[in-house]
């Protein structure tokens, strides 16, 4: 497990070009919205000075009056942002194939080969996504509908609102954990599809589920380990954003730079997750490099080592 963790980190550290490519893609998509937003905001503010107090912090009155008078023209950006995010989800599915192919086959990043691998696995990963995403949505229904019913019935008898709060938090925590497990299983399914050169989404998903439960401690252990760095990253960013306010060009540039580094690191973390998971499943299934290309895996048959 620790080996998989560190190996995953090592391979991620050598994947700078790929990460940068993915980051630039995210940036480009975001700029497609942000640039028109800039122009719209500029036209909305026009020559008014009423928003200047917003430069050095937050000012509710300035913000509120502005939104009331100009909010309508900015409102369309919200659904556009959501649609672009959904579009990015599809691109993310597309890129997953290339990412796992590069890690699993220990290739050097070449844009042409990367995109070729992405295209190669896209439809099968899309089929897998059409299994995983509905499961995620179903999980929301399974958890929250009964949770709401429980809360409603508790509200007639619970002595304090703290009881209601803890019940809700427990339900939400259960959802978060289960949702995380589904994501992990999906990752392993993707890795198995690349390893097996298989297009069978449902079979790979089923194999991944079996793998998850057979090796549950190591899988969850690795997942928890991997969560440490993003947690530290988020805390660090929040501390930074509280301590530095934009009051000059230099501070503005620093803030923007730090924000973009944060985005780059988020992608770094995603690669790290996939890399570590690839090495874990490879090790636990005892796959040798030269064997990988020829044999299909069968979890019951293969021996397991401690990775």
């Amino acid at each position: 497990m620790i080996k998989a963790y560190t190996k995953g980190l090592r391979v991620t550290l050598t994947s700078g070009k790929m990460i940068t490519f993915l980051y630039l893609f995210v940036l480009l998509l975001a700029l497609i919205i942000s640039i028109p937003f800039f122009i719209t905001l500029k036209n909305a503010i026009n020559f008014s000075m009423s928003v200047y107090p917003l430069l050095h912090g937050f000012d509710y009155t300035s913000y509120e009056d502005f939104i009331r008078t100009s909010g309508k023209i900015l409102k369309p950006f919200v659904p556009i942002g959501i649609w672009v995010s959904i579009l990015y989800l599809i691109f993310s599915i597309f890129f997953s194939g290339g990412i796992i192919d590069l890690i699993y086959n220990n290739k050097k990043f070449s844009l042409k080969e990367f995109l070729f691998a992405c295209g190669d696995y896209f439809l099968s990963f899309l089929r897998l996504a059409l299994i995983v995403i509905p499961i995620q949505l179903l999980l929301v229904v399974i958890i929250y509908f009964p949770l709401v019913a429980i809360l409603v019935s508790m509200s007639d008898t619970a002595e304090t609102e703290a009881g209601l709060f803890y019940t809700f938090v427990t339900g939400a925590a259960v959802h978060l954990v289960l949702s995380g497990f589904i994501l992990v299983i999906a990752d392993y399914a993707k890795i198995l599809m690349v390893a097996n050169k298989s297009k069978k989404a449902f079979v790979s998903f089923w194999l991944a589920i079996k793998f998850f439960f057979v090796k549950i401690i190591k899988v969850i252990g690795l997942y928890v380990l991997l969560l440490i760095f993003p947690a530290v990253l988020i805390v660090a960013y929040l501390l930074f954003s509280e301590s530095l306010f934009i009051h000059s060009k230099i501070t503005f540039l620093i803030v923007v730079l730090v924000q973009q580094i944060f985005i780059w690191l988020r992608i770094f973390v995603k690669i790290w997750f996939l890399g570590s998971e690839t090495f874990l499943i490879t090790n636990l299934l005892g796959i040798e490099e030269e064997v990988k290309q020829d044999e299909e895996w069968n979890i019951e048959e293969l021996s397991v080592d401690n990775g």
């Binding site: 905001l41 500029k42 020559f47 000075m49 937050f58 509710y60 993310s92 997953s96 304090t160 924000q259």
Partner: protein, 670 residues
């Protein structure tokens, strides 16, 4: 004998000392108010049936010059009897988030008089009639009139012995029960106010006794309340006034006695699980009845109450009572929270509420503040709700901003913050139709959804505007004068305006004039909005004069004139878009760093200010010092010929960042 006399004298001195050592309900030995309506009550609460059986001895003084042939009473809790009451028809049951389940009979409430006798023992119950002075709703049972066998002569008193029964409703609006929690308000037959000619709007003597409306609160005369409450001994009780005695009975109940003097109402609460916190502030004994899971926040409750006491005493007037009780209802009775009664009020809290969200402080300060406006000035909340809610909200914003920061007093979490006054202003300026109704409307006549925004938010906004126009010192003088002159006297809006005008007459302000009728006519009695706009800045370089200028017909091309110094004519156009006209300031900033402050009476539609200077006007602001928070749109109050784009860059970079995060978040779905 001598020794007996001596001992008697000693005993008398001891008793006298003991009596003076016992707390009194007010700080004065003398009556503070006319004490027109006085109640002595003995009541018993049955927590299982939710019924109160009570006897009430009402002593009512006729201070008018009229012979009173009938009395009128409020029977407020009949508003919860069925869906045909005026309160229900107006949607009052929905306003605090709860509702009475139609199938559950225990949820409904009512009040009835079992017997009403005068001093002669004559039964008056058969003389009781329900009346509907506001809307002719024959099904409404919240006002009765009683024809008297013996009229009450001017200057004399009537004493009535009333046996009544109250069934408490499930708490949907202020009063009733929720599970084993009781907040008992407007629960007894309460006599209306007989207004004499010249009092408030009365041109002749008449009863002012309105039905219970969804949006109305209450109005009553001052008096003394001597109330004995019997209930199971496990219940912890809090009430208006001073707890003078508690007696344990042999049947598992206890009887608690409360005495309140010079108050307009009496409310009480009973709950087994309160945690009681008591402390002293100067002459005021503070008692806080808190929920056990809110106890850890007791400093927030007590601290904010003490802040309010300090601020009101310093800036408005002395709180004349010796007690105040703060009640924290449980989450399942939140419809009883946020309400005021003399020396007794309910606040609002939720477990886990962070320090950055000042809900506890805001509600505590606001509800305590009502003691001054509802309780001591005792304005008519039916007819002039703004004088209570609006004035109190104005003081709430002052106190909250003073103690917790102008920009952070309401909410300060995660980099997002706003102050109390900012929130109140937004409540008014954010109305879909700020012209919906004049502030000075009867409470039930506001269009739906506008009562709160107009009486609370708009009033607080124009009060703050008034303060900024006349200055804080003058505003404090106005309010202190108003309070001292009119406490215990039920003033009207006109009485308040007269106080303002009296002080402004002395001040004789150059821009505002010597009275403020023009201000109140617009913001209080009118529906117009205030909106000034900085329309345009035009800068023209002044051309040197050329041509023929005198009889000599000689051509002048200004070689002789010092032409090295350029001059510009800057014209600043200020427009009035709204109907409200208020004197306004305009600040113009020039390229050489100089500034000019101009004043305009705000009356015309457009005013142009011209400046001839060697430098150009760069930017200009209408109302640069925010004296007109009632201006509904500040985005059009300024123009900069050299606009800065830094704010745009900042928020665009934020949008970019959050868009990127959103995309990456969506990608975690797979």
């Amino acid at each position: 004998m001598k020794s007996i006399k001596f001992l008697s004298l000693l005993a008398s001195i001891t008793i006298l000392h003991f009596q003076t050592a016992i707390a009194q309900p007010t700080i004065s030995d003398k009556p503070l108010s006319p004490r027109i309506a006085n109640y002595q009550m003995n009541v018993k609460l049955n927590p299982k049936t939710k019924i109160i059986n009570g006897s009430e001895v009402l002593t009512w003084n006729n201070t008018s010059t009229d012979t009173i042939k009938e009395l009128r009473f409020h029977m407020y809790l009949n508003a919860f009897k069925n869906t045909k009451s005026t309160f229900y028809k107006e949607g009052g049951h929905r306003f605090r988030g709860e509702n009475i389940r139609a199938k559950d009979t225990v949820d409904w409430g009512w009040i009835k008089i079992k017997s009403m006798k005068d001093v002669n023992g004559s039964e008056l119950k058969n003389k009781i009639r329900f009346i509907h002075p506001d809307d002719n709703n024959k099904d409404d049972r919240t006002v009765i009139k009683v024809d008297l066998n013996n009229p009450v002569l001017p200057g004399s008193t009537i004493v009535l012995n009333i046996q009544f029964q109250t069934k408490l409703p499930k708490i949907v609006a202020r009063s009733g029960f929720s599970r084993d929690y009781f907040l008992i308000a407007q629960w007894f037959p309460k006599i209306g106010v007989y207004e004499v000619p010249g009092q408030r709007f009365a041109t002749k003597g008449s009863w002012n006794c309105h039905q219970y409306h969804a949006n109305s609160e209450f109005y009553a005369d001052f008096g003394n309340y001597d109330v004995s409450i019997t209930l199971p001994k496990e219940y912890i009780v809090g009430a208006t006034g001073l707890n003078t005695n508690t007696k344990l009975n042999t049947d598992g109940t206890k009887t608690v006695n409360y005495l309140a003097e010079d108050v307009v109402d009496f409310a009480w609460t009973a709950f087994k699980h309160y945690k009681v916190v008591e402390t002293q502030w100067k002459h005021v004994h503070i008692k806080a009845l808190l929920q056990p899971n809110h106890f850890y926040m007791k400093d927030r409750f007590i601290g904010s109450l003490i802040n309010a006491l300090n601020y009101f005493n310093d800036n408005l007037g002395i709180y004349p009572y010796t007690t105040v009780t703060l009640v924290d209802p449980p989450y399942y009775a939140l419809a009883a929270s946020g309400m005021e009664y003399p020396t007794f009020f309910t606040t609002m809290a939720l477990w886990g509420i962070p320090e950055g969200l000042k809900m506890i402080e805001d509600v505590t300060i606001h509800e305590f503040g009502h003691n001054y406006f509802m309780g001591l000035l005792a304005t008519n909340e039916f007819e002039e709700a703004w004088m209570d809610e609006g004035f109190n909200t104005y003081y709430e914003t002052r106190i909250m901003n003073y103690y917790y920061g102008k920009k952070t007093s309401m909410f300060n979490l995660f980099g997002f913050h706003f102050g109390d006054f900012e929130m109140q202003r937004e409540g008014y300026t954010g109305m879909s139709n700020p012209k919906a109704a004049p502030d000075a409307s009867f409470a039930w006549q506001y269009p739906e959804g506008n009562y709160g925004r107009i009486t609370y938010n708009k009033t607080a906004t124009w009060m703050t505007t008034l303060e900024r126009l006349v200055g804080l010192k003058t505003m404090n003088k106005i309010m202190k004068t108003y309070f001292e002159k009119w406490k215990f006297k039920h003033p009207t809006g006109r009485d308040f305006i007269n106080v303002v005008n009296g002080i402004m007459f002395e001040k004789n302000d150059k821009y505002l004039g010597n009275n403020m009728n023009w201000f109140f006519d617009q913001v209080l009695y009118g529906t117009g909005v205030c909106d000034y706009k900085l329309g345009r800045i035009r800068v023209i370089k002044i051309e040197k004069p050329r041509g023929i200028f005198d009889d000599s017909l000689s051509l002048v091309n200004n070689d002789s004139i010092n032409s090295k110094r350029e001059k510009f004519k800057s014209s600043v156009f200020v427009e009035r878009l709204g109907g409200v006209k208020i004197p306004v300031e305009i600040l113009v900033h020039f390229s050489n760093g100089s500034e000019e402050l101009e004043r305009w009476n705000g009356k015309g539609r457009v005013k142009v200010f011209d400046f001839v200077k060697p430098s150009k006007a760069v930017w200009a602001k209408v109302d640069p010092f925010n004296k007109l928070p009632i201006d509904i749109n500040i985005t059009n109050n300024s123009l900069n010929t050299r606009p800065r784009t830094s704010v745009i860059w900042k928020y665009t970079s934020k949008v970019l960042f959050w868009l990127e995060n959103s995309m990456l978040l969506f990608s975690t779905l797979f």
